[in-house]
């Protein structure tokens, strides 16, 4: 057990931090620290250009296997890549759903044809992806998916609705869980389809959130089509593949997320020092607690990643979503408490609604404990799967 990095790791760190320093400049300089959660619309086209720029330089798919076109970087390099990227203020990646979820799913479950067809576009930054899982009646109860797909000739024809779909309006492709067996229910009879977004049968409608912005969308499928071969796994295996995708959400990229959290905490600490709240004994306890909690988040992620090759999911992986989401939500509240009455104020005229970054943090983190499995669902999963406690009686 060792947390320190080797000389080879440090050389790699110098390489990526040097590249960021040399490249996040000029037209890209204005992208620093932009486009993260809650800010996903900011500078979108410029960030898309940045994604392509990274792809050309070979900095996409850092953790992907070499055979899939990735860098095949060892774990320590992945950790360093994501941390240095965030430390340099690297913008929110427009390709993160493709790189982090769709790509790894295709690598793990897709056919050779699908790998050849889809992976290069993800790595180059040309194809953006979104995730079609949740529906109005399939949130926590994800298996209650109603969206249907029928095989008509050589096409899947899809009808239904998805919701909370980030980046749907700009995406080229969507991975969709749809019911392909008439009359099936629950986990059975679902399939995992890859669907082109830019077609007549798909309508995207943004959802205005409590932040006033619209990172999430509703997506309506009305006779939407995709080619018969655009199914990952066999018909009826959609649940298995979808669960595989969720497992990739626990990848090394969480280290980058934590570095972004670190930047937020540093900003809050700087404000507390400037406005004198850092002298308040209770506030000091809370700031220190947040700092400690973030260090532990990193340690927990490194522990989880260091066991990645073990067949069963370790317990630290089961608790990580509940932990980071709750920590981050609390950070949003801490930011407001440090600011005091000024927390409520943003520049501009009354009647406008252009929030500051910390106001966005406070409001947007209310979604952290809801999306990708609510805190309540996370607790059920921990209790039932990690601790082996009996399932609740279900209707």
């Amino acid at each position: 057990m060792k947390l320190s990095f080797s000389a080879d790791d440090e050389a790699f760190r110098a390489e990526i931090s040097g590249w960021m320093a040399d490249n996040l400049t000029g037209d890209f300089a204005s992208l620093k620290n932009r486009g993260g959660p809650g800010d996903e619309h900011a500078f979108f086209e410029e960030r898309r250009a940045w994604e392509r720029h990274m792809g050309k330089a070979g900095w996409t798919g850092v953790g992907w296997p070499k055979a899939a076109g990735g860098r095949g970087a060892p774990l320590s390099h992945q950790v360093i890549f994501y941390e240095e990227y965030a430390r340099a203020g690297g913008p929110g990646r427009v390709g993160h759903i493709g790189e982090g979820l769709a790509g790894p799913t295709i690598v793990a479950f897709g056919s050779e044809d699908q790998k050849r067809r889809f992976l290069p576009g993800i790595l180059s930054g040309d194809d953006l992806w979104c995730q079609g899982y949740s529906e109005p009646n399939a949130g926590s109860d994800l298996a209650n998916v109603r969206t249907r797909a029928r095989l008509v000739g050589d096409r899947w024809v899809i009808d239904g609705q998805k919701v909370w779909t980030s980046l749907a309006h700009v995406s080229d492709w969507c991975f969709v869980i749809a019911r392909t067996e008439e009359g099936s229910s629950g986990h059975k009879g679902l399939s995992y389809l890859l669907v082109p977004m830019k077609q007549k049968g798909i309508t995207v409608r943004p959802i205005q959130q409590m932040t006033g912005t619209s990172e999430f969308n509703e997506v309506f499928f009305d006779g939407a089509e995709t080619a018969a071969e655009n199914i990952v796994g066999k018909p009826g295996e959609g649940w298995k593949v979808a669960m595989g995708t969720l497992a990739f959400e626990r990848g090394a990229s969480t280290l980058g997320q934590q570095m972004a959290f670190r930047n937020q905490l540093d900003e809050i600490i700087a404000i507390a020092k400037a406005n004198g709240r850092a002298k308040d004994p209770v506030m000091r306890q809370r700031l220190a607690e947040a700092w400690i909690g973030l260090q532990i988040m990193r340690a927990n992620a490194l522990r989880m990643l260091s066991q990645a090759e073990k067949p069963e999911l370790p317990r630290e992986a089961y608790v990580s979503k509940l932990y980071w989401a709750t920590w981050h939500r609390d950070l949003g509240k801490l930011a407001m408490d440090v600011l005091g009455p000024e927390a409520d104020v943003f520049p501009g005229e009354p009647g406008t609604y252009e929030l500051t970054a910390l106001q966005q943090l406070f409001l947007f983190t209310r979604s952290d404990t809801i999306y990708a499995g609510t805190n309540e669902i996370q607790r059920n999963i921990i209790a039932e799967r990690a601790l082996g406690m009996p399932r609740e009686a279900r209707a």
């Binding site: 057990m1 060792k2 947390l3 320190s4 990095f5 080797s6 790791d9 774990l75 320590s76 950790v79 600490i269 700087a270 507390a272 020092k273 400037a274 850092a278 002298k279 004994p281 000091r284 306890q285 700031l287 220190a288 607690e289 700092w291 400690i292 909690g293 260090q295 532990i296 990193r298 340690a299 927990n300 490194l302 522990r303 990643l305 260091s306 066991q307 317990r315 630290e316 089961y318 608790v319 509940l322 932990y323 309540e376 996370q378 607790r379 059920n380 921990i382 209790a383 039932e384 990690a386 601790l387 082996g388 406690m389 009996p390 399932r391 609740e392 009686a393």
Partner: protein, 373 residues
């Protein structure tokens, strides 16, 4: 970077869990906690024979020369078993302090099991003043909450000597020193009060005239290892609770099937796993810091881990009582042993509030504000 146990570390854990589970569980604790001495000498001799007292002692002093990750592994298992022994005072405090001060004295005797020992420094309350005398020193004052202070063979006592912190070795009972064990709610730990009333020590009793820095390092490393103890004990509380609630039937079903119960157990699991990450993060920093390394990194990690893990232990023990229902309140069930121990451990080597305040200082809350950006 690989934040997982090596094969050797897995073996240490398995061996410790096996031995402690067989010989030193709560049933054993109940037997010895009713005695004045508070531990079983025969069983302790077996622990010594396993090499545990020499775990971190360098090989040329008769030890195994292992690090703080290994010591944390062993202490985690001792926490799980709630094993009452001189281990913490002798190894985690005394041997660690001697090593931090760079002195080989007593290390061989500790590693070989010839003596038990303890440290009375910043980990105790009160104050001792030392004054030079002809041929030695004179010590006066009082210390409370000295771990194993009444039963240890060797006392390492910090005293103020001309404004500096000096460390003295006292082998057993000497004239003018009274050692009184304290009766405590938690019967696992054995704190004592030491009264120094004109205690004369020979010159060679002085281990280090300027021990402040070394002792600070030692106490941080001890805090890390105690955090690991808390992890094991907290996890045992979780295991007992899951086992019990799966057995206990009310309303025609195991109470473990109710979300109100499951969600509390999930929160316990979160506390345990984040604490384990915290303790081993800090143990790695302790190993990396060496004897003259970056004190700030270790101070942050130690304060973070100790405050986090001790609170998790208390929260888990408290939840364990609640989820055991009425039987959790009885003397017969083991939960109260952990609950009382958790409360005591929170206050040992600094409570959460003082560790968080220290972190607040170290992360720069008192530094001048940066110019507005």
């Amino acid at each position: 970077m690989n934040f997982a146990f090596t094969e050797d570390q897995d073996l240490i854990q398995d061996a410790a869990r096996g031995w402690l589970g067989e010989f030193a569980g709560p049933a054993h604790a109940r037997k010895v906690m009713a005695t004045a001495e508070g531990y079983d000498r025969a069983l302790w001799a077996e622990a010594v024979a396993l090499g545990w007292t020499g775990l971190i002692v360098p090989e040329d002093q008769g030890g195994l020369g292992l690090g703080f990750v290994e010591l944390a592994i062993l202490m985690e298992e001792m926490g799980r078993a709630l094993y009452p022994s001189p281990f913490e005072a002798t190894v985690v405090l005394a041997a660690n302090a001697l090593m931090a001060l760079g002195t080989p004295r007593y290390l061989e005797a500790i590693a070989g099991g010839g003596i038990t020992a303890t440290l009375a420094a910043g980990n105790a309350t009160g104050k001792i003043t030392a004054a030079p005398t002809e041929g030695g020193f004179r010590l006066d004052g009082m210390l409370r909450h000295v771990p194993d202070g009444a039963r240890a063979d060797l006392l390492l006592v910090a005293a103020d000597l001309d404004g500096r912190t000096a460390l003295f070795a006292i082998e057993g009972d000497v004239a003018g020193l009274s050692r009184t064990g304290l009766a405590t709610m938690d019967q696992i730990r054995r704190p004592a009060e030491l009264r120094f009333d004109t205690v004369h020590l020979p010159a060679e009793a002085l281990i280090a005239a300027d021990a402040g820095r070394g002792l600070a390092l030692a106490l941080d490393r001890a805090a890390v290892v105690l955090a690991a103890f808390a992890v094991g004990a907290a996890e045992r509380c979780l295991e007992m609770t899951v086992d019990y609630t799966k057995e206990r039937v009310q309303f025609g079903r195991p109470v473990a099937s109710f979300q109100a119960v499951k969600h509390q157990c999930a929160d316990m699991a979160l506390a345990v796993e984040t604490s384990r990450s915290a303790a081993y993060w800090a143990a790695c920093v302790a190993d990396d810091s060496g004897h003259n390394g970056d004190g700030t990194a270790l101070a942050l990690a130690a304060s973070g881990a100790k405050s986090w893990c001790a609170r998790s232990y208390f929260d888990c023990a408290a939840a364990a009582i609640q989820l055991h229902g009425g039987v959790g309140f009885t003397w017969e069930y083991d939960v109260h042993l952990y609950f009382k121990n958790a409360r005591a451990l929170e206050a040992v080597l600094g409570d959460g509030t003082c560790h968080r305040e220290r972190v607040a200082r170290l992360i720069g809350l008192d530094d001048a504000a940066e110019a507005a950006q």
